[in-house]
């Protein structure tokens, strides 16, 4: 009986590891090909590199204009993440801790806001922004990303605040602390992990977002990393090695953050999204 069980578990190990390996093939090919030569790739898509061509990265970095792209992405991503963090933190604080009038309305509003697709707003927003000169503008993108990331992150922070003990706030109020002081000295230290999750979610969403950025950022100078890569592939279709190197450059920061903070990542991205 025990033997059978062990056999069964080793069979499922083998199946699962096999699937994991197959699952990783596309990324493995991408990484391997990023250091192979164009000719070698054209001859055979999947192979180990015979000689390492690190210079592919230099070529891709320069041709793709990745310095500008990284700067653009960092500015937009960090700004949007900070704004989302502040406003959702305050909103959840107001609703949970201060018992704001109309809290039911606000909660319903943000829940409903979660389900408005990007499609429903993009055309009107584009021509609206066109009038006020926010096309090809990092500020325009920061505003859009802040707005569309508010509902999900509000729900996330809200759920966390709901679970916090109320006694702390009352103690602070008896001591005569103002609401901002209470927020800063009491709530913030406890909520640090959840706040870093919010920063992470927004930053990664911005890094990977395509629909809005591709529509609103047409000027090469302000385009983000994903968009640079999108254009790069079109312009360098004859040089697959540079495409793979550019892909690695485009995805590496996110993969590294994922490896370092995978629990934050997985919990943050899956919690509340499709759960019943």
């Amino acid at each position: 009986m025990k033997k059978r069980k062990r056999l069964k578990s080793s069979v499922s190990y083998i199946v699962m590891i096999l699937i994991a390996v197959i699952h990783m093939i596309p990324l493995a090919v991408m990484f391997l090909n990023s250091v192979r030569s164009n000719d070698a790739i054209r001859k055979r898509l999947i192979a180990f590199p015979e000689e390492i061509h690190w210079e592919n990265f230099v070529t891709a970095w320069i041709r793709g204009g990745y310095l500008d792209a990284y700067i653009s992405n960092l500015i937009i991503g960090l700004s949007a993440a900070s704004i989302v963090l502040c406003v959702t933190g305050f909103a959840a604080y107001g609703i949970v801790k201060l018992d704001a009038p109309g809290k039911r309305f606000f909660r319903t509003y943000f829940t409903a806001g979660l389900s408005i697709p990007g499609f429903a707003i993009i055309a009107t927003l584009f021509f609206m922004f066109n009038r006020v000169g926010l096309i090809n503008s990092r500020i325009g993108m920061i505003i859009i990303y802040s707005a569309i990331n508010i509902p999900f992150n509000f729900m996330f922070v809200h759920a966390f605040f709901e679970g916090m003990p109320k006694e702390l706030d009352e103690a602070a109020r008896i001591d005569g602390a103002s609401e901002l002081q209470n927020f800063w000295y009491n709530v913030l230290p406890l909520a640090k992990p959840i706040f870093s999750t919010v920063m992470l979610i927004v930053f990664v969403n911005v890094w990977n977002e395509f629909l809005f950025s591709n529509t609103f950022l047409q000027d090469e100078k302000v385009r983000t990393v994903a968009l640079r890569f999108y254009n790069f592939v079109g312009k360098n279709s004859g040089d697959p090695a540079y495409i793979y190197a550019a892909a690695v450059i485009s995805v590496l920061p996110i993969l590294m953050i994922y490896m370092l903070m995978q629990d934050t990542f997985v919990d943050g991205m899956t919690s509340g999204s499709v759960k019943g």
Binding site: L27, L98, G102, F106, Y109, A123, T124
Partner: protein, 292 residues
């Protein structure tokens, strides 16, 4: 005094509310408004009543696109759920390596659509992609393998990439739902002599039904608003073979500048999604009440 304090609470909520209203709610309402006009994005819009909606009824490209959305939906209702759920059950029953495997399965989800889409498009390229493998193996019939250029295969080739990117996410969802399944029921079923397949369908599935139902709701709606992979890999081509409602609306808005008409299409799709959502939520509510 107490009232003052409470008003302060509302003050805390207003920044988030204000940003969202201006950037999301106002344009969304604008879309519904412009759907009754002939706006091209620049000139002053003129009111045309229901004309856009009537024109939509004879827009065969739009209906063709909706058919592709249905195919897309069917694929995503079944494939990621089946793969994700089966692997989540397997993952739950092993001890060591559980977290490592979860990390690997989830990993493609953090790769952006533009990167995954374009890397796979390079794999699909007839010059340096999978075709070269068939060539070197001497399989002549597949040496021109270029699924994105083939109207019959393109939609599936694109959906394959989105599936690759997505099922690990579904696995994690199902994995955390399975954690809440009552183990004693499973043990009781084992004592009664039920096999793993039987246990899966009669014990596990009924217990995570709410999660599965929300997954279905999510997919039905998401399938009608999906855009990234198709636009990145084929832009709806070749010859409209992969056109989706979203890519068609996008084309109408930003390439032919028929913003009024595009708004009518988009309003229709959004209302459809809303209706589906309301019906499914009502069904879930009624069933939940019966269950108690």
């Amino acid at each position: 005094m107490k009232r003052m304090k409470k008003m302060k609470g509302t003050l805390f909520v207003l920044p988030a509310f204000f940003i969202h209203v201006v950037i999301v709610l106002v344009p969304a309402a604008g879309m519904v408004f412009y759907s009754f006009t002939n706006w091209n994005g620049l000139k002053e819009p003129e009111f045309v009543g229901l004309q856009n909606y009537i024109a939509m009824l004879s827009d065969s490209s739009f209906f063709h696109a909706m058919k592709n959305n249905l195919v897309w939906m069917a694929m995503f209702l079944v494939i990621p759920l089946a793969v994700g759920l089966v692997l989540a059950v397997m993952l739950l029953n092993i001890g060591r390596g559980q977290m490592l495997l979860r990390t690997v399965y989830f990993l493609p989800y953090v790769v952006g659509a533009a990167i995954a889409g374009k890397v796979f498009a390079t794999f699909y390229s007839p010059y340096s992609g999978i075709a070269s493998i068939f060539q070197s193996l001497g399989i002549e019939s597949l040496s021109n393998f270029a699924p994105l250029g083939n109207g019959r295969l393109a939609l599936y080739a694109v959906a394959f990439v989105d599936n690759w990117h997505w099922w690990g996410f579904v696995l994690v969802l199902m994995f955390s739902a399975l954690h809440q399944v009552d183990r004693s029921l499973l043990e009781a079923a084992t004592m009664e002599g039920a096999g793993p397949v039987r246990k899966f369908f009669s014990v596990t599935i009924p217990q995570i039904k709410p999660t599965i139902l929300s997954y279905f709701t999510f997919i039905i709606i998401a399938s009608f608003t999906t855009f990234d992979y198709v636009w990145i890999m084929t832009q709806g081509g070749p010859a409209n073979a992969t056109e989706l409602a979203s890519t068609w609306i996008y084309r109408k808005s930003f390439i032919s500048y028929e913003v009024g008409y595009a708004s009518a299409l988009c309003t229709t799709v959004c209302m459809g999604c809303l209706a589906v959502y309301l019906v499914l939520a009502a069904v879930q509510k009624i069933r939940g009440r019966d269950g108690e």
